[in-house]
């Protein structure tokens, strides 16, 4: 089957560094005059006289094909090049290298409310936004009632948009975009905006579009949406294509890359996940399993110890809380002394190690990470998100060698089964 999108060796280079993206003519003249001297000075100092701007490749040698009717999900960390890829596919910016062939018309949804003007009414904005996104006037007229009905703003259609609530605004904006009829639809994390009802509506509409045979390219961080909608998935890392194929396979590759379990210990004195403004008090965290040694891989059903070492200015009675989260960031459970108060009467200490021991770790196998909350009786003063991650290893807890699959939940619950005569 022939592809509807063909991307060959795509690359995009951005200039960064001392050069401003826009400048004044005065700057240009000054730089032009000073250029020979700069080169001379650099050469005298023994360095190569290169330009004092550097560049980064936002995308590099990306090649893939999308078949008609596919829903391709694009995932990757922030800065991996996902939005850049969509921008190039939407003709907003030009590639530096490579080539793209499109065998269908493209409609892009890169932002909610493109073209909306605050002073104009809802009705006027539907026409304006529709025209900006590529619809003809006749087409907008034809679909106008459907758009307004989808957005559920019939009574407000003649009020200036600046009076709308944010919910109405995004509903209307999405309604216009949803009625674009391109063969290829590009969507960029648009679903991140808005409340649950709106997100469900967006997902529903995207699903409808996909079932109607359109090709959708969808960038999102919402793993559940990717899993629900996409027929194939592409992962970008640092601008290069690192995985392409079945969504579940690519997503677990993504997740594995992002949170390498490591060796069960992490230094916390300086940590990127610390809540801004908090005083660093926790210095180290260690995870120990059944064997008593620090480890990043713990068998389910075995004990788990979270050991947090802290150093504070004054002696205090520590209150430690941990939130265990899935690799997608969804919290699974919280174990915190704030709700048990077991250490409430201990001797206050300025430096100590707090140990939290869970007798049986009842998680479904997978990657998990831990948020740590340290405080005293009053409140929490040192919070670190994703302080450390670990892997829960399978173990035969049921006696049959089988465990529930990962997408059925994160907690493993034991139950007794019996059957009775009715």
């Amino acid at each position: 089957m022939r592809p509807i999108i063909k991307v060959e060796n795509l690359g995009k280079r951005y200039l960064i560094g001392k050069r401003e993206p826009y400048r004044t003519i005065r700057d240009s003249i000054t730089r032009a005059v000073a250029a020979p001297w700069r080169g001379l000075r650099a050469r005298l100092a023994g360095q190569a006289a290169g330009p004092d701007t550097s560049h980064i490749w936002a995308l590099r040698e990306v090649s893939f094909e999308v078949k008609q009717g596919e829903v391709l999900g694009i995932i990757g960390r922030n800065g991996a090049g996902k939005s850049t890829l969509l921008k190039i596919l939407s003709r907003i910016t030009e590639p530096t290298t490579g080539r793209i062939e499109l065998y269908g018309r493209v409609g892009s949804l890169l932002e909610v409310g493109t073209g909306f003007h605050q002073e104009l009414t809802g009705r006027e904005n539907v026409f304006l936004s529709g025209a900006i996104m590529g619809m003809r006037r006749a087409e907008i007229l034809r679909k106008f009632d459907q758009i307004v009905a989808f957005a559920e703003i019939e009574e407000f259609v003649d009020t200036p948009v600046k009076r709308y609530s944010s919910g109405m605004y995004v509903r209307l904006a999405f309604a216009v975009a949803a009625h674009l009829d391109p063969e290829i639809l590009l969507v960029d994390e648009v679903l991140a905006v808005g409340d649950i009802a709106f997100q469900k509506k967006c997902l529903g509409k995207l699903g409808e579009v996909a079932r109607a045979g359109r090709t959708v390219v969808f960038v999102s961080h919402n793993m559940a949406a990717i899993e629900a909608l996409c027929t194939s998935c592409l992962m970008l890392t640092g601008g290069t294509l690192t995985a392409l194929g079945d969504p579940l396979a690519v997503m677990s590759h993504y997740v594995a890359e992002g949170s390498a379990p490591g060796d069960g210990a992490a230094a916390l004195a300086v940590h990127p996940g610390r809540r801004p403004g908090d005083t660093p008090t926790m210095t180290r965290v260690e995870l120990r399993g059944g064997s008593g040694a620090p480890t990043g891989a713990l068998r389910i059903g075995d004990p788990m110890e979270i050991r947090v070492t802290y150093r504070a200015q004054r002696p205090l009675r520590p209150v430690l809380g941990s939130v265990i989260k899935t690799s997608y960031g969804a919290p699974v459970f919280c174990v915190s002394d704030r709700f048990c108060g077991r250490l409430a009467t201990c001797t206050p200490r300025a430096e100590a190690t707090v140990v939290c021991r869970i007798e049986r770790l009842m998680l479904i196998p997978g990657h998990y990470s831990i948020d740590l909350w340290l405080g005293d009786l009053g409140d929490d003063f040192d919070v670190i998100f994703d302080a450390i991650s670990f892997e829960a290893l399978p173990a035969d807890l049921t006696g049959t060698g089988r465990l529930p699959p990962p997408n059925s939940g994160a907690v493993f619950c034991e139950a007794d089964w019996s059957i009775h005569e009715t």
Binding site: L89, G98, L102, L120, I132, G213, T231
Partner: protein
Amino acid sequence: MNSESMNVDRAVRTDDRPPRISTLEGPTSLPGADGAVAIELPLKPILTIESARGWTRLDLRDLWAHRDLFYFLVWRDVKVRYKQTALGVAWAVLQPLLTMVVFTAIFGRLAGVPSDGEPYPIFVYAGLLPWSFFNQAVTTSSNSLVGNAALITKVYFPRLVIPGAAVGAGLVDFAIAAVILFVMAFHYGVAFGASILMLIPLALLTMLFAAGIGMWMSALNVKYRDVRYALPFVLQIWMYVTPIIYPVTFIPQRWRWLIVLNPLSGIIQGFRSAIFSRPFDWSGMAVSAAMTVSVLIYAAFAFRRMEREFADII
């Protein structure tokens, strides 16, 4: 009916989820049961995206395909400009009108500048009308790209539409200010001849020249923000070197050739000839037309060349 009864010992239901498209091989043609039909793909790509070098085609077909958008942008600019203003559209008229009053007082009365035998107010207004249009069109279009940065970074459409729409919006103001001209002509007893019809091609010429300059300035403004500051100043000087306040005869013969170099001179002279039923200076107007067309063509190509970087540097 037993179709509803379920076997209670079966733990998992396998046949009532909607069919999911196969993930490993990628979808084959979708079943017609859904109402979906695989569209026949064209043999050649509808669009090829590649890095371009040097001068690119103008792509007039793309522009024509977006004419609805052009109309909507003009409509938006006009509507928004006068929303929440007290005087509304009257502002379109006040500017040339008040300028005319001030110039009449200073140059017509006090300085005694000649006016080709016509009453000074209408003489100067005949020049101010196209000039105001040009001035406003160039100023708004030069800022139009930067002002629409949000659109440029989020949606694709031919960027030429943006400064074009700014000039188009100016046309609306021009039309309103032109009405005042007719009122004044009636007041001063100026009779129109057949030459008044020349106003239409002349207005068109002004618009094309404004579009050319505006396009070029708007593209330059994206990269060099000086344009925004330099332009008002340049336009101010430009007004004084164009025979608006004074007739061409005011300038000594020696320097007359400089005046001819200014495309607006030919246009403004043409406006005056049309209104006062004077003989036209065809050579002057021909020069203006030639310069307008060259500027327009050059500006369009220069714009297309600079367009590539807009989304990256705006």
